[in-house]
């Protein structure tokens, strides 16, 4: 009666609690940020305003107000509520970053895995191409690609994906090389697994932890890069709120209207911080290459 013969999966509620504990405080912040993405997404896609004010509604009589109860983050030079813009901005800044990473990770991991599996000439060629993109100075490459295609948010996102995918290729390849010689892989091949099967079925679960951890930490990096490009004048076109773009627009009125740069900049910092810390925790938990002694 004491120990069950079968290990039952834990009930759903305690699984959720486990996930929360795994995420910890950074995880909670990330959840808040996700909520902001949802709010921003609803507004962007359906037009329904969930934030206290419409993020693009002008109000010339309330221009450049410092933070007050009515406008906790103040208003900008056209009277728009900064809090609403920061919250809705999560859709543009954070969602875009995640899209960038998704694209980069997919292309990169596939490339790296194929290179690692195939070896030989294919490996050499793919890795040279990867090196080429890696050698290109990131900012110049992203800025050039973005400017070429009009400088909007979509093109900037694609440009950033072009900058980030090589990292995933390298990581995936290194991991595959390490795994290739393991027993169970050899066993799978003996059992008749084709390379395609290996690539699509056997190896992904093994690659997943490393890649996912890297993706989480990269959210911080990509959000910073996206806001940097916006700061240089590329990225989302007005009047849509994007955090980096908001700091860029705030520059002429610094230091007087400090709230215009402080809050969007703070949102970027908070996002980066939360995802970095979350990535730490995930890596501690999942990454077999990484001992707990690490950071």
């Amino acid at each position: 009666m004491s120990s069950p013969a079968i290990d039952l999966p834990p009930p759903a509620r305690s699984r959720a609690i486990d996930m929360l504990r795994l995420g910890g405080v950074p995880g909670l912040i990330v959840l808040v940020l996700f909520a902001c993405i949802v709010v921003g997404g609803i507004w962007r896609l359906t037009g329904h305003v969930v934030t206290p004010y419409d993020p693009v509604a002008l109000d010339l009589s309330s221009r450049l107000l410092p933070p007050t109860l009515a406008h906790p983050f103040g208003t900008d030079s056209l009277g728009r509520d900064v809090l609403s813009r920061v919250v809705a901005g999560a859709w543009f800044s954070l969602m875009t970053s995640m899209a960038v990473i998704a694209i980069a990770a997919t292309i990169g991991t596939l490339t790296g895995a194929v290179a690692g599996l195939l070896g030989g000439l294919a490996d050499e060629v793919l890795m040279r191409i990867t090196d080429l993109f890696l050698a290109f100075p990131a900012l110049v490459l992203a800025a050039a690609i973005s400017a070429t295609f009009g400088g909007g948010l979509a093109t900037t996102a694609l440009a950033l994906a072009a900058v980030f995918w090589p990292w995933y290729a390298r990581i995936a390849r290194a991991r595959i090389l390490g795994l290739k010689n393991l027993d169970f892989v050899t066993a799978a091949i003996t059992l008749g697994a084709s390379r395609r099967y290996l690539l699509l079925v056997t190896l992904p679960p093994l690659l997943a932890p490393t890649v996912l951890v890297q993706m989480t930490m990269d959210v911080a990096f990509v959000t910073l890069s996206l806001s940097s490009l916006s700061f240089l004048g590329l990225g989302v076109q007005s009047p849509l709120p994007e955090w980096g773009g908001m700091v860029y627009e705030a520059l002429p009125s610094q230091p007087r209207a400090w709230w215009l740069a402080a809050f969007p900049g703070g949102a970027i910092a908070l996002t980066a911080l939360a995802f970095n810390l979350l990535g730490d925790r995930l890596r501690d938990q999942f990454d077999p290459d990484h001992r707990r002694n690490g950071d």
């Binding site: 040279r128 090196d131 080429l132 890696l134 050698a135 290109f136 100075p137 990131a138 900012l139 110049v140 490459l141 800025a143 050039a144 690609i145 400017a147 070429t148 009009g150 911080a220 910073l224 806001s227 940097s228 700061f231 240089l232 004048g233 980096g244 700091v247 520059l251 610094q254 230091p255 400090w258 740069a261 900049g265 970027i268 910092a269 980066a272 911080l273 970095n276 810390l277 730490d280 001992r291 002694n293 690490g294 950071d295």
Partner: protein, 338 residues
């Protein structure tokens, strides 16, 4: 060992040359795709169409693309990087005048980052799970998370506007003359000339931009060093050294740090590359006359030659840094030498 190192260098340079060919091609393609009309930029926005056409011809932009590429490559082989449309002088001159500023900034940032990162990381590892550890890791994460342009503005607000301790930007005060050129970098030149007040002024101008630029490196290095140090501290040979009675300090420096530095070297290499191209934002906010600012201006003004030159130079820098990292590995780890 020297022969082996030379062999390594030769192999790497050979591989790098393929890389460079690809980069030359890619930059050319990209710069030709950029929107905007450099001929009009050069001639002036309100110039007549005849004037613009003439300028286009003078700049060689009316030739077919392949011809333009050929001209470019030929000139490149002779060290001619073309004429900048924005500054109206040879790009080589521009680069030579702006590069030292960025080099000095990046070097200063690297020094700060490496010193701070290694020190904090080692300290944190030795005081694991206590206050120094947490503060070091907290600072490290912050260094990686705060957007540099935002931080730069913040630093200006605090240290210039509010406190008045440090200058707003630039490398020197308005009326100050630079020291006689020896290395091309202001601070060493001032010290070599024995001009201490000038060196102090240079340092004051260098402080904020270098600090802001160094933060990601310091952050990453703290974490990497900490992790590596902890790992090394648990190793047998360290315990063996302790058992032999060697002082902690000696163990730390001779045995631990050297081994713990290896992953750090990779990090430094990677970050240096990022810092050089990422100095754009810091240089913009602090009005630092370096190549980062020059590159950003070039992209905006569709200055073909400047964009291509900057990309080439940055890529070369990256390749060289990679080479240096590989060599450093060999130097640090005798096991790799055989």
């Amino acid at each position: 060992m020297l022969a082996q190192l030379l062999g390594l260098v030769a192999r790497r340079l050979f591989a790098a040359s393929f890389l460079l060919v690809g980069i030359v091609f890619l930059t050319f393609a990209l710069s030709r795709l950029l929107p905007g009309d450099p001929a009009r930029m050069y001639a002036g926005a309100r110039a007549t169409p005849e004037a613009v056409a003439l300028v286009r011809q003078q700049l060689g932009l009316d030739a077919p693309v392949l011809t333009q590429f050929q001209t470019y490559v030929t000139a490149l082989a002779q060290g001619d990087l073309g004429l900048s449309i924005v500054t109206r002088r040879p790009v080589v001159e521009d680069v030579l005048s702006f590069l030292p500023a960025t080099v000095e900034l990046v070097l200063a940032a690297a020094v700060i980052g490496i010193l701070a990162g290694t020190a904090l990381g080692t300290w944190a590892a030795c005081r694991q799970e206590r206050l120094p550890d947490y503060s070091a890791r907290g600072l490290a994460v912050l260094g990686l998370s705060l957007p540099d342009f935002w931080l730069a503005i913040l630093m200006q607000l605090i240290f210039f506007s509010a406190l008045g301790w440090l200058p707003l930007g630039d490398r020197l005060n308005l009326d100050t003359l630079p020291p006689p050129t020896v290395t091309g970098l202001l601070l060493p030149d001032a010290l070599l000339a024995g001009n201490l007040p000038l060196a102090w002024e240079i340092l004051r101008h260098l402080a904020l931009p270098a600090l802001v630029l160094s933060l990601p490196l310091a952050g990453l290095l703290t974490r990497t060093t900490r992790a590596a140090t902890i790992e090394v501290l648990g190793k047998d040979y360290v315990r063996h050294a302790r058992a032999k009675g060697l002082s902690r300090r000696r163990i730390l420096i001779r045995h631990v740090m050297r081994n713990a530095m290896m992953p750090g070297v990779t990090v430094i290499g990677l970050q240096l590359g990022f810092m050089i191209s990422g100095a754009v934002l810091v240089e913009t906010v602090f009005n630092w006359p370096g190549v980062g600012r020059y590159a950003a201006q070039a992209i905006r003004a569709v200055d073909y030659n400047a964009i291509m030159a900057m990309t080439l130079i940055l890529s070369c820098a990256y390749v060289l840094i990679n080479l240096a990292v590989d060599l450093a590995y060999v130097w640090l780890d005798p096991r790799l030498r055989s």
